[in-house]
């Protein structure tokens, strides 16, 4: 189970990503616990495997519209499917990597695996996951933390 301070680490990582990369703040909704092993997903999901002191996954999932605007805010003109997938993986990687500031270097993160257009393929390894809703401009995304 995650402690409140650990959830805060991921919330801070998510808000910092938008503040720095998009130069525009995102608001984070109240995190909630999902217990049926199905935290849900949007169009594109970047999944990071966690090993070492903690085991599980962290994923960032967002609709195409949000990722397209985020790319444009980053001055990227190529909004192809390939770059959208690259971005969703990079967001997941950045938020997970930043968490090592609090979790320490034994919070080992994998390279991202990206799932696009097939939301049913996004599954959590354990029944319980914390879902952190992220709202940016008119779009909603979610950060899912599922650790043993």
């Amino acid at each position: 189970m995650l402690k409140e301070a650990e959830i805060r680490t991921f919330i801070e990582g998510a808000t910092r990503y938008f503040e720095v990369s998009a130069q525009q703040e995102a608001s984070v909704g109240s995190p909630y616990l999902v217990t049926d092993g199905n935290p849900g997903a949007y169009d594109y999901t970047g999944v990071i495997g966690i090993s070492g002191a903690r085991k599980g996954i962290v994923y960032f999932s967002a609709p195409r519209g949000m990722l397209t605007v985020l790319l444009m805010r980053m001055q990227e003109t190529d909004t192809s499917d390939e770059n959208i997938k690259d971005l969703v993986g990079e967001v997941a990687n950045t938020i997970s990597g930043n968490a090592r500031k609090d979790f320490g270097r034994n919070f080992i993160i994998s390279v991202p695996t990206v799932v696009g257009h097939d939301m049913e393929k996004v599954t959590a390894p354990y029944a319980k996951s914390y879902v952190i809703p992220i709202n940016w401009r008119t779009h909603s995304a979610k950060l899912v933390v599922c650790l043993e």
Partner: protein, 130 residues
């Protein structure tokens, strides 16, 4: 005509990151006149090959990459040319990782996400005295 001072000498830059967006972002955002991008690689193994071929003076290096990670790649590049200047650009925000990268031969560390200004400040600092 006097010879150009050392501080005006053009320097070759290689960008290493598994994200195409980040590679393009660094290339687009770096505003140091002396730096000319000579190539980019998406993993450590590719980077070593490109490094041998293009002999860059400066490298930006991601850490979490497939094939060969950034720490191993830093070691390989420094073994080939101990004078290369390496700026690690990574999301791994713990101090121990930054210290390890420096110990293996990197010269600076920039944490993702970063602004254009932070990137250019980090590159400027890397090039001080070169």
């Amino acid at each position: 005509m006097s010879a150009p001072s050392r501080s005006q000498t053009p320097l070759k830059l290689m960008i290493v990151d598994d994200s195409n967006i980040i590679r393009r972002r660094i290339e687009r955002s770096q505003q140091i006149d002396r730096l000319e991008v000579v190539g980019s690689a998406s993993n450590g193994r590719q980077a070593v090959e490109l490094f041998r071929r293009t002999q860059p003076d400066v490298v930006t290096m991601d850490l979490t990459m497939p094939e060969m990670d950034g720490i191993e790649c830093v070691q390989e590049l420094v073994a080939i040319n101990s004078k290369v200047l390496i700026l690690v650009v990574s999301a791994l925000a713990d101090k121990a990782t930054a210290v390890e990268a420096i110990e293996k031969g990197a010269n600076g560390f920039l944490c993702k996400p970063f602004t254009d200004r932070q990137l250019n400040d980090a590159l400027h600092e890397l090039l001080l005295g070169v």
